[in-house]
Amino acid sequence: MIEIHSLDKTFDKDSAAPVHAVNHLSLSFQEGITGLVGENGAGKSTLFRLIAGTIQKDEGEILIDGSLNDTPKARQSLFFLPDVPYAPARYTAFQTAEFYSLFYPFDFSLFQQLTKKVNLPLERKISTYSKGMRRQLFLLIAFSVQCQNLLLDEAFDGLDPLVMELIREEVVRLALDQKKTIVISSHNIDSIQRIADSLTILYRGQLSEQNNLSDMSEELVKYQLISAQEIRAEDLEKLGYRIASCHISGSIVSLIVVKKEGFEEDIKQLYSPTLFEKVPLEGSELVTAEMMLARKGARHE
């Protein structure tokens, strides 16, 4: 479990335009899989790097399984896979795994088993690997490291669909069998929503939302409608409705809205739609809608 209290980090403090990357953030990551999402520059990678101790925090406290994050005990129980992981030059894939085993307890049999599944050539130098293969290798190393807490930054980027499926399965297996705390950031929203138990959304260094996906889906509703009149999100927002997205495709308008009584009646009265129906909200739409709400600051209004 990872607990964060009033964490704050500002880059370029002395410059004319300081960057407040993490703004007095308090949250916790429980056992299971948490998806960490947010727009570019929301502070996801900075948050990971602060938790892993690779950058210094300005304020706040980070506890990993109850220990301060800069203690060897905490570090022993945390593995952070950054967007660009390190491996000594000229190393083969197997040597890279051996290198990581110097620092962390490592399950070599699991590693070899997983590499066989994805057909990774272990004796090849990783400098000859493609970007996707490198990503696969480091994800498999992360799964083979026996740490209770895993931080996976940009976890699914660059993976082909077959490997992505295997990786997703493995993440779920780790979370279930070994009861690990796994935090995954990725722009691959579909993958995140398929495996995550809960979702944490960051917006400009602040926590926008942290909830499990089922609760989130309770809050939002998606409509499709056809109307002769132009439907604009701003007009509906003026009426006090929180519009996560308003998408027009041909004559059909798709609206994702935070649930509120009277919305359906107002739509019928204002736009006299020829088609007006509730449609199921897909997982990726749900996550995107939450991110849109975070951007609009709708939740804080």
Binding site: F11, R49, G53, Q56, R75, Q76, L78, Y86, Y104
Partner: protein, 406 residues
């Protein structure tokens, strides 16, 4: 985390670098010994020839202690590497300590092997093959007017070895300190060069006048041991000395070869006296400029390393180490003076040495604001105390041998 395995891996990683240092130093040092066999390890008035192999091994070792530590801090100058090493289950201090000690111990082991194999080869060359240099030594040893037994020259290299080790350790830690301040490779190199200049110029400014005053007061200008002192003063300053010589182009006496120069001659007329003072002032000024430039270079990490720990001087108890460097240079200069002098100077030498050790310990206490030391601090204190003991003992033995023949 398996520290032992990590240390083994780290040594393996740096092995080519360390072997490179050892091989290059050995080749040049042994070649210099071979071609200088007429003079090296011999009682000779041709000081330049007799110490050339020493200059070679010192220059290469001083270069190694300056630049090999770049590898220690290489992880700090690249975001990907820094991210990795900053998150491993090892405190930053401990990681640095392990890497610093691996390089230091490796350099010392290589230096010791190369040094003594060189001495042994020269000894075999001279003694076993009955070389002319050896026969000359025997003749001198048999001469009742001479007080130097033939093997004295070989015995003499024991205290010198320990002094050089002290100099290497001091120089190494000083370089480590300068390098630890940089956040980028070029910053590290710039800081190292500026730091070397600063130290050398500052030392020149302090030691040189003291040396001249001593030479003027207590010795005659043609004293043979003065030439040795002069020689070892040059040797001990490291490569920074030669840069200083280059910069002080207007001072002929300093730039001359050791065998031609005698320091008191600087004081022979008013023009030379003026040159001397100009040099001292120039050394101080250049030292100050270097200090200012170092402050200019030292800055918090920016760009991809933004948010990192800042200038990496954490965990380096640098004051005692800088003092060690200072003391090492002074004592390296004093060694020959002691061995070729009477018993009074032995007392002075031991007094200087003991004072240095006491001040070193006091600085260590002061830098930690406590007298309760951690285990590793006690180990460091024990190493310094051991070094002092070994230098005193070996110097005393060398002096005793010489005295028994007088």
């Amino acid at each position: 985390m398996n520290k032992r395995e990590f240390i083994r891996w780290q040594i393996k990683e740096w092995l080519p670098l360390l072997i490179g240092y050892g091989v290059i130093t050995a080749i040049f040092y042994w070649l210099a010994s071979y071609y200088g066999v007429d003079e090296f390890l011999s009682y000779s008035s041709r000081v330049a020839s007799s110490v050339t192999p020493m200059i070679v091994i010192c220059v290469f070792t001083f270069l190694a202690t300056a630049f090999i530590p770049l590898a220690i801090f290489s992880y700090q100058t690249n975001r990907v590497r820094a991210d990795f090493y900053d998150q491993i289950p090892l405190r930053d201090k401990e990681l640095r300590r392990i890497r610093i000690l691996i390089v230091l111990i490796s350099i010392l082991i290589i230096f010791t092997i190369v040094f003594w194999v060189g001495i042994l080869l020269t000894y075999l060359h001279q003694v076993v093959l009955n070389h002319e240099a050896y026969r000359r030594l025997l003749e001198r040893g048999a001469d009742p007017n001479e007080f130097v037994p033939y093997y004295f020259q070989y015995v003499y290299y024991i205290p010198l070895f320990f002094l050089l080790v002290l100099g290497i350790v001091a120089h190494y830690f000083t370089c480590v300190f300068f390098l630890s301040l940089g956040n980028r490779v070029w910053d590290c190199i710039l800081l190292l060069v500026l730091g070397e200049l600063l130290l050398n110029f500052a030392l020149q400014a302090i030691l040189f006048p003291a040396y001249v005053v001593y030479a003027e007061t207590f010795t005659s200008s043609d004293s043979s041991f003065l030439r040795y002192i002069n020689d070892f003063m040059r040797l001990s300053f490291g490569f920074g000395y030669y840069l200083a010589v280059f910069l002080s182009f207007f001072s002929e006496n300093i730039a001359k070869t050791p065998s031609d120069s005698s320091v008191p001659s600087l004081y022979q007329n008013s023009a030379q006296t003026a040159v001397f003072y100009i040099n001292v002032i120039a050394f101080l000024l250049i030292g100050l400029i270097c200090a200012w430039l170092m402050l200019f270079v030292k800055k918090d990490p920016a760009g991809e390393l933004a948010g990192k720990a800042g200038a990496r001087n954490r965990g380096i108890a640098w004051i005692p180490h800088l003092f060690m460097l200072f003391a090492g240079f002074v004592m390296a200069g004093a060694t020959q003076l002691v061995i070729y002098s009477d018993g009074v100077l032995i007392v002075v030498f031991c007094f200087v040495l003991a004072s240095w050790a006491v001040i070193y310990f006091l600085l260590l206490f002061a830098s930690r604001s406590t007298i309760r030391f951690a285990k590793q601090d006690w180990i460091r204190v024990a190493i310094v105390a051991g070094m002092v003991f070994l230098i005193c003992l070996s110097t005393g033995i060398a002096y005793g041998i010489m005295r028994s023949y007088r």
